[in-house]
Symmetry: C2
Subunit: 468 residues, 2 copies
Amino acid sequence: SPSEREGHSSTQSSHRLLAYSDALISIIATVMILPVAHTKVEDNEELRESLQGLLTTKIGVYLMTFLIVTVAWAAHIRLFQVVVRIDDCLALLNLACMMLITFLPYTFSLMATFPENILGILLFCGCVMVIGVIQSVIVLYAFSRPFLLNEQIQISENQTFYKHHILKVIMKVPIMCFFASIFSFIFFQLSYVLLAIVIFLPYISQCLKWCRSKAIGQVEETPDSMLFYTYLPNEPLSKERVEAFSDGVYAIVATLLILDICEDNVPDPTIVQKQFGGSLTAALRVYGPEYLAYFGSFATVGLLWFVHHSLFLHVTKATRFMGLLNTFSLAFVGGLPLAYQLTHEFPPNSHNELEAIQISCVIIFFAGIFQLAIWVVALYNEQETLHPYVRYGGREHVLMLAKLALYPCIALGTFFLTCILSKFSAPIFHLMEITVPFAFLVLRILVRLGLALLRLLFCPDRPDRRIV
Amino acid sequence: SPSEREGHSSTQSSHRLLAYSDALISIIATVMILPVAHTKVEDNEELRESLQGLLTTKIGVYLMTFLIVTVAWAAHIRLFQVVVRIDDCLALLNLACMMLITFLPYTFSLMATFPENILGILLFCGCVMVIGVIQSVIVLYAFSRPFLLNEQIQISENQTFYKHHILKVIMKVPIMCFFASIFSFIFFQLSYVLLAIVIFLPYISQCLKWCRSKAIGQVEETPDSMLFYTYLPNEPLSKERVEAFSDGVYAIVATLLILDICEDNVPDPTIVQKQFGGSLTAALRVYGPEYLAYFGSFATVGLLWFVHHSLFLHVTKATRFMGLLNTFSLAFVGGLPLAYQLTHEFPPNSHNELEAIQISCVIIFFAGIFQLAIWVVALYNEQETLHPYVRYGGREHVLMLAKLALYPCIALGTFFLTCILSKFSAPIFHLMEITVPFAFLVLRILVRLGLALLRLLFCPDRPDRRIV
């Protein structure tokens, strides 16, 4: 029986395997920002022009890679909601799967650089198909050793039905990729359409279902098969894995910055001797803006993580839609190294510098606003998704809202400041970023004061209903 | 009371904060391999010569940084074994602490590049001192709100004693750095001696204690204070955090490889047009060795993680000494990107190529042998550190030993092969790396056969004592 084998070493809890997979996938999703951030923007040409070249290809590649990798990650979550225990063989199969997932961004960037060459399409589709085959092997292997499966499937009498249903869902995407690779020989534009459908398939199928249910009334569903392997937006994602994935993205973004500093900003001893007369202080002073930009960016990433952490403390269940919003927020967080790179590489008081700050503001604003959107969506189903003490009303609710609103407000305010004040500069922007933590420290006090004031103004007769 | 506040949102479980810190610290520890790996080794000069320059500075910097960051990480573990719950303020203080820890490698590499300039020493010591101050503030803050503390300290009547003891231990290193920074003005060589003492302090003090106990007999210890904040090698580390830190290192090493490929190996469309007549296949064929090296290295990193994962499944408690051996193993794992870089950048059949393979073998050998050492040390205290079913004897025990011995044996074998066969080349080496997973798959069968054979040869009369 499965509980007897629980303590035995030949089957293992999958916890650490999943944590490692989350770490790998989150880093891979974020890595494609590097080619964007490392694109040298020349000083003499206009930022707008060079960014146009960037925006059309590299940023597009980054965002699409992020989405593709996230889709692979979501499939991985679903798979390991069915297979809950592992053994050596499954661990090795999963590592093979990871190896191919980490190769996806490269094949995709080949596809984007050479859109008319079918080699990129073939490589990408090949990777996806092999991943699909490996995942099918995992499912077949797990069903041949039922003690590895989810309790609910283990006790079900309908295991064969489950197996076929899951295999069908897993093979849907690889089979579409198979057709895409065949079409690439005939009419490659069609391949791109097919691949686009693959990525947005969950959302499209959900829309279609919703439309159908509105048009011809509620269709009956097979509740037995809906428990696993659906794309319903209200289906719970594993909250633990959403947190692990987000932590990975925030950690790699925070460290991509120091990675650049460690590689580029240790001056060469001979240059220090020649250009600065041996004075290391003078040589390092040149890098002043870099250090300030580093501390500012680290503070921003750290605080966005802090807000995310506070938010998910209150969340009891993450739905698929909340997961999607979280992905959008993380995609913008992954853009912060670009903001860091842009804000410190232009000469002070140039038009470019102001535009770089504005781009940073836009990135921070969207990263923050999608976090706020997660909260709003969670409030719609607050009975299911939130802890009781943060539901509508109460101080904790207001505090959470204030935390979430702080970054979008600051980003918006800074954006307008750059339009008005021509004296605004990157160092001021980074100093602002560094002072934001203090805003978070006084937020609790401000919220308390604000609530007291509101109470005094609107209902002076009601007794003070303190929660804390 | 603390249990009443358990569900309240103003204090929070520290689990996710620690996971995020582990991710940040593990990435930072590994990042300094990049300046080593990215050092261009010219084709025409001898690898040995150029490596001499590397070995003396960059590899030294990498290993020292790894050790320093690990010491900071160990201090972080100790701190959050005392402070078990957090609130917003502590989360922000911890992020500030992280920001300075991520800056340590940079200050250290400045120190190594300009050993005679006191600026490096001052920056490094400044960082350490500020980290110490922040950690002291965390302790003071937590003791002013006792519900954040460890249960054992919470119920103790001697809280003030604990507080002073912990502060004393925390401030030991920053105070030594303070003296080091003062001495740097007078006689900077002394500063380096002091800093070396700081890093090896735990091990030195442990040695001294051991010598004293041997010389004058067992000294009496204050058991009250020994519970927290000691450097005893048998003191348990948090097994969860050792795993999280190791996962971070393995994940970032595996992805540093693809990061390089994504940045460097997407050919420029104009170059493809000019040099290869528009044939993308021909252009990508040039990168063949890179792909092979990537898959080979990923397989190696993945399998070393797999062995580590198998090992820690059997471990119930990680002692500080096991943690140290784990750090050594991880430091060599972090060197794998260097192996990857070296093995694919030399022309085939050159003397350099063989030496690059030998270096890779040495790195893999040490990464594996330190894993084996963890197992050996764990066996010495098997009652405390291991699950019953893997203790001496039994098939699981032999299987674990076989898994741990596989990589050192293969690395050693390959090393000697390169000495004998002059035809050995990097592609063969990488193909070998890719086939190792299959060795792991058949290992279980081989162990079973081997055991059956041994039983048949030596004790044919004893009944078959199967465990599985």
